[in-house]
Symmetry: C2
Subunit: 79 residues, 2 copies
DNA sequence: ATGTGACTCTAAGTCCGTT
DNA sequence: AAACGGACTTAGAGTCACA
C-alpha cells in the first residue's frame, strides 16, 4: 500500500523545485487545479495515467517520481 | 494518456520471465485473480497503488516497470 | 494562488460464475 | 491455468462555488 500523502509530498517537492504554481502545472497536465491540489495533499491518490500526465508537465520521466517514492518508503518505512 | 494494453503487456512479460502463473502472482499481490487478468489484457489500467503491489509480487522495483513502459512508448510512439 | 465541500460520472477493484 | 462475463461497491476523475 502506497501512502497517498507520500505521493503528494514527492510531487509537490518536484513542483516547487521547478518554481511552478499548482495552476500552471495542472494546466500543463490537463488536470483541474482543485483536483491536482487534492493529489498533492494526499486526499486523492493518482492513477498511473494521471501520474504520467503530471510527470509530463514537470518535464521529467514518470519513473523518476516512482523511484523517489520508493526511496522515501525505504528511508522512512511505514508501520 | 498511457495505453492500458501496453501496461498489461509489460507486466505480463515480467511475470512470464519469472515463470509465475496469474494465480500465484495475484495471490502474492493481494489482488483478485480476475482483476489482474483484466489488467494484463488491457481491460483495466491499474492505479499507482496496484502497480506497487504487482511490483512487490514480482520482486522488482515499481520504477522498473514504469521505466519499461516509458521505453515502449518512445520506441513505439502512439498516434 | 491555494484549500475545501459537494456534487456527477466513470473506472478500479471484488465476487459470483462459466467456457 | 487462464479467458470471459455479470453485478456489485468503492474511489478517482472531473467540475463548480466559495472562502
Amino acid at each position: 500500500m502506497v501512502s497517498a500523502a507520500l505521493v503528494g509530498q514527492v510531487i509537490q517537492s518536484y513542483r516547487l523545485r521547478k518554481g511552478m504554481s499548482q495552476e500552471v502545472l495542472s494546466g500543463l497536465a490537463g488536470l483541474d487545479r482543485t483536483h491536482y491540489s487534492k493529489i498533492e495533499r494526499g486526499l486523492r491518490s493518482p492513477t498511473l495515467d494521471t501520474l504520467f500526465k503530471i510527470a509530463q508537465a514537470l518535464d521529467i520521466p514518470p519513473s523518476d517520481i516512482v523511484r523517489q517514492i520508493e526511496q522515501q518508503i525505504s528511508e522512512y518505512p511505514e508501520p
